[in-house]
Symmetry: none
DNA sequence: TTCATTATTTAGACAAATCTAAAAATTTAT
DNA sequence: ATAAATTTTTAGATTTGTCTAAATAATGAA
């Protein structure tokens, strides 16, 4: 059994390792709102418990055991978010902090019953996928952003062009992995797309739209 | 803001002071599964925060502030129990430990929305009363279900017949402790009652109705 | 490659909540 | 009323998670 704090570290390491692996001490410190020295201390502890692999100065990766634990926390977090939005009428931007607490409640029965009660949702209110009880994420079909129509909503789940100029361009527009988008208009004459990212209107060319992969939901 | 541990102490002191006031150190130690010395330490801390009145060797009583906090935790605990039983199909004897964790989630919005979602229950699955958001316990006057009229609403808070055949019958009809009911019709010729339980219409005989105790609200 | 900068770790300290063992107060029994 | 038993408190130690400041390693630039 892990403490509340250990669980939080595992979760953060899990999220950060989707961006870069291994995960560096400073990256964790920034995300968890703490000091690098504290992170080092905790990493040592997690390493002793064989939840992470740790090489001094090189960063950490999750072990299988650590990954399983982390995914379970993510599962709980996202299920609770669905509950809050679908059942208690929270807005999708009001749920995070409460889910952050609820994700640490220890009861497998609770999680499974909640999943059932919510009718086994595949994504949370932000469009992020919810792993099943075995830690598997459903295959979410990728669609090119250029195939979407006005009012379509989805989550950016990939790109089909990996040049750094392209990625930097997306970064600048705020079109990063995991962001929710909504199509406002597709302009006839050049196929450029007007869309909404985090309540911000943006316009991207058809060329760019073709290389952004979306999961509709 | 109180810590998880402080909240637990306040809750236990609240419960124990219904039996004897002031509450003695050893009584707390026993209930909270800890040592008397630890209790003394914590009581001093709670006293500094003006959540309890403490006289060495004499025991503690809750201040108004402490009592308000304690009642709010009891409120949350019991609402979560209703949620677990009514919505997630937990059995009434499976809910305590999970509710013990859920009661510490910090979010007024969550509690109020949950209360609403559960249709403002007045008692938990064990029949214990649930205080409202101002900390007031409803006056729980028992009325026989057979005395109610169409459109009357209430909560099942007891029975006046304890044979297992009767209880099993009620169980089958979904007429269990804590359930909200609404009277639809009382039939003239046999006095049988048509009522609504969780959006389900049910009909019970006058004999059965006489032995179900209701709290109107 | 050497110096400067940045990132990470170590060492030592602190607050919260707990514990054990000993001391002090209270209660009970004779 | 005094001794014995019980309860409660104090003193000092421990664990968890954190911190600051200093030391060390890695990285980047000239």
């Amino acid at each position: 059994m892990q403490s509340y704090t250990e669980e939080n570290y595992l979760k953060i390491i899990y999220h950060l390792s989707e961006i870069s692996n291994p995960v560096l001490t400073n990256a964790i410190a920034e995300r968890i709102q703490t000091k690098a020295a504290s992170v080092t201390d905790m990493i040592k502890k997690l390493s002793d418990k064989e939840l992470v692999n740790y090489v001094k100065y090189q960063g950490v990766t999750l072990t299988e055991k650590g990954k399983t634990t982390a995914i379970n926390i993510v599962r709980k977090h996202r299920l609770w978010e669905v509950f809050l939005v679908d059942k208690l009428n929270f807005k999708w931007d009001e749920v995070h902090d409460v889910a952050e607490e609820l994700e640490h409640i220890q009861s497998n029965l609770l999680v499974e019953r909640l999943d059932e009660f919510l009718d086994f949702p595949r994504v949370d209110p932000h469009g992020d996928p919810i792993p099943d009880k075995n830690g598997n994420f459903a295959e979410l079909a990728f669609i090119k952003l250029s195939k979407l129509k006005p009012t379509d909503k989805g989550t950016i789940t990939g790109v089909s062009e990996h040049s750094s100029t392209f990625l930097k361009h997306l970064e600048k527009l705020g079109l990063t992995l995991g962001k929710r988008i909504e199509i406002i208009e597709v302009l006839e004459f050049d196929g450029s797309v007007e869309l909404l990212v985090e309540s911000q209107k943006t316009n991207i060319s058809r060329e760019v739209a073709k290389h952004i992969l979306i999961t509709k939901n």
